[in-house]
């Protein structure tokens, strides 16, 4: 009989869970759903008189957060996957008025914003109705059973006598609540998906952006290969040719002019040393050996030691990111630190490297310099941005005039276990 009991236990557990989830949906549809909708609708006309630039992004981002929350519920509770339709956030030049205006434009021109808003409105009644339904059905059924049992056993008389069919109806409500509850929540998830999922056009636009970033990456790596080819051609290869020539000449004159032969051999040795130096620089630019040997942690430590200013390091990585991510992160950090040395007039810098619970590698680089760093087209920061974009990574720079400058990078990745 224990099987039956645990089966009953599991069923009631599932039912309670469904009811609670439904109620959460119902409550959130109203609060904060309705206030967010009203705030958005009221603040939009304020844009015309200018003061809307503060409340509009606030309320619309609130709506967006609410919608994203529902997307998560749909996936986790009903296995209805709703993709995120939003356009990527633009780079804000400042936190001032221009930055706010940019944010408004970004939000208002995205069709997904308007569909979110429509969903918030329609969802208020729909969310309440569908969300509360399982709990309602189950509770009237349970109430009937409890009341009837009470009447039968203890002679409770405060319940009015019910007809047979009403009895059947109330009990079938319980059955419906238990059996159909998850399906009701799923229906709500599908209703939400209809408004919250990206449209065909938005998916196409996302695809377009992906194609663009892919072709940028392909271009960048092709350019990188051309650079390596040229460096080898003009550097190490040329020096090896001259090395061969010196040795060949030394061979020719060895018997007749040993002094000249010695001189040529010394030249040859010099050429070989130069070739090795060239190769070493080239290798460092492709993939620094210390990165291969020690991972990101050791490579950043080694890098910090070579800089002409003290760099405070706080590195907490429980494992190693995949090699391409490690390399992208290393070069990004190296570029930022090179900028610190070149432009900031900083006396010290710091690097913080950690792995967040959202499976992101986070690097924060700061200095106590003059600030005022602006990402220019074709500048180093833009290059880093492109490099990180290939891994869905992002970079943010805050650099008020007068400093300090803080650069934050995030790269989604999995860590492998740390090697011993």
């Amino acid at each position: 009989m224990s099987d039956g009991t645990s089966g009953f236990g599991r069923l009631s557990q599932l039912t309670i869970r469904t009811c609670v989830r439904g109620l959460v949906i119902a409550v959130l549809s109203v609060i904060p759903g309705i206030p967010l909708f009203i705030a958005s609708v009221v603040s939009l006309p304020l844009l015309a008189v200018g003061i809307g630039v503060v409340p509009v992004p606030m309320s619309l981002l609130g709506v967006r957060r609410r919608a994203s929350q529902q997307r998560r519920f749909a996936l986790e509770w009903s296995r209805v996957s709703i993709a995120t339709p939003y356009r990527p956030r633009p780079h804000e030049v400042s936190n001032g008025l221009i930055g706010r205006l940019q944010r408004c434009k970004w939000l208002l021109t995205d069709p997904a914003t308007w569909r979110d808003l429509l969903w918030t409105l329609v969802n208020a009644p729909v969310g309440v109705a569908l969300g509360a339904l399982p709990a309602f059905l189950v509770s009237i059924g349970v109430w009937t059973v409890v009341a009837d049992t009470g009447t039968l056993l203890f002679g409770w008389s405060d319940t009015a006598p019910r007809g047979f069919w009403l009895q059947v109806f109330l009990l079938s409500a319980l059955l419906a609540g238990v059996l159909a509850g998850p399906r009701i929540l799923k229906a709500h998830a599908q209703f939400s998906a209809a408004l919250l999922a990206p449209t065909r056009k938005e998916l196409d636009a996302q695809l377009g952006r992906l194609n663009e970033s892919r072709s940028q990456v392909v271009d960048a790596s092709a350019a990188e290969l051309r650079r390596i080819e040229r460096d080898l051609h003009d550097g190490a290869q040329a020096r090896l040719v001259s090395l061969g020539m010196s040795i060949g000449l030394a061979e020719q004159v060895l018997r007749n002019d040993p002094d000249l032969a010695l001189k040529l051999l010394a030249e040859a040795r010099e050429s070989s040393g130069q070739a090795l130096t060239d190769l070493r620089h080239l290798v460092r630019g492709i993939h620094p050996p210390v990165l291969a040997e020690r991972g990101l942690d050791g490579a950043v430590r080694a890098l910090a030691l070579t800089l002409p200013l003290p760099v405070d390091l706080r590195i907490e990585l429980p494992g190693r990111p995949p090699a391409p991510v490690e390399s992208a992160a290393y070069f990004a950090i190296a570029e930022v630190l090179a900028n610190v040395v070149k432009h900031s007039a900083a006396r010290s810098a710091w690097v913080q490297l950690e792995y967040s619970s959202q499976a992101r590698l986070i690097a924060i680089i700061g200095d106590d310099g003059a600030g005022g760093a602006v990402p220019r087209i074709g500048g180093g920061l833009r290059g880093i941005e492109r490099r990180l974009a290939a891994f869905d990574g992002v970079i943010a720079v805050t650099s008020p005039v007068g400093g300090p400058t803080v650069v934050t990078m995030e790269l989604p990745c999995e860590l492998s276990l740390a090697r011993t």
Partner: protein
């Protein structure tokens, strides 16, 4: 002089054996991976070990780790570390494991046979031989520091050569000046950097490296 060699590339290993043998050194064992190197170092306790940083099985810094571990087990075991690239990080790790009997050179330096053999002998004798590239990186890094600015360019040259483990005679030959002039420069450097005056070359090098905060 008994030498243990740790180098995985056959071409370089054979070349180094030939080179060391030509200068009357006996290569008692030549190994090609980290664990075997550690074993060879601890059992043979050679007069000097010549070790490549990158070795199998991981092809990372097995050689360096084996060298550091061997020096932990056999304090003062002379080790000359060779690598295709030099890192201050590694220099620091090597030096933190004990004083003297330590070298860290780029592989390129092997081509200057006489100097390379000199470095092997210096290390075997308990001295220190740092690669000029490590030293120049250190000087560049510390160039902003007040005390280093007080040095004349010539004195900086002398300081760099000292950190490479050269003797006064070696520095004099390199700079084409008299030994007397060199020792005068060195006295000036010690005064300007508030360094104590060491008795032998090794203590002198360590003083410099300590000052440079390696």
């Amino acid at each position: 002089m008994r030498v243990v060699l740790g180098e995985d590339l056959t071409l370089l290993r054979d070349g180094l054996i030939r080179l060391l043998t030509a200068y009357d050194m006996e290569v008692v064992e030549a190994v090609d991976n980290g664990p075997a190197l550690l074993h060879a170092l601890v059992t043979h306790r050679p007069d000097v070990a010549v070790v490549d940083v990158r070795l199998p099985p991981t092809f990372t810094d097995e050689g360096l780790k084996a060298a550091i571990e061997a020096r932990a087990q056999v304090p003062g075991l002379p080790v000359l570390v060779l690598s295709q690239h030099v890192e201050q990080l590694y220099a620091r790790e090597l030096l933190s494991g004990g004083h003297g009997g330590l070298g860290y050179l780029l592989k390129d330096r092997v081509s200057d046979v006489r100097r390379f053999i000199e470095a092997v002998r210096t290390v075997a004798g308990g001295g220190t031989a740092m690669d000029p590239e490590v030293v120049s990186q250190l000087l560049a890094r510390r160039a902003r520091d007040e005390p280093l600015r007080r040095l004349t360019p010539r004195e900086r040259e002398v300081l760099a050569l000292m950190a490479e483990g050269r003797t006064n005679a070696g520095i004099a030959a390199r700079l084409v000046v008299t030994e007397k002039a060199v020792s005068k420069h060195i006295n000036n450097i010690f005064t300007k950097l508030d360094l104590y005056r060491g008795g032998d070359d090794n203590r002198r090098v360590l003083a410099v490296l300590t000052y440079l905060n390696i």
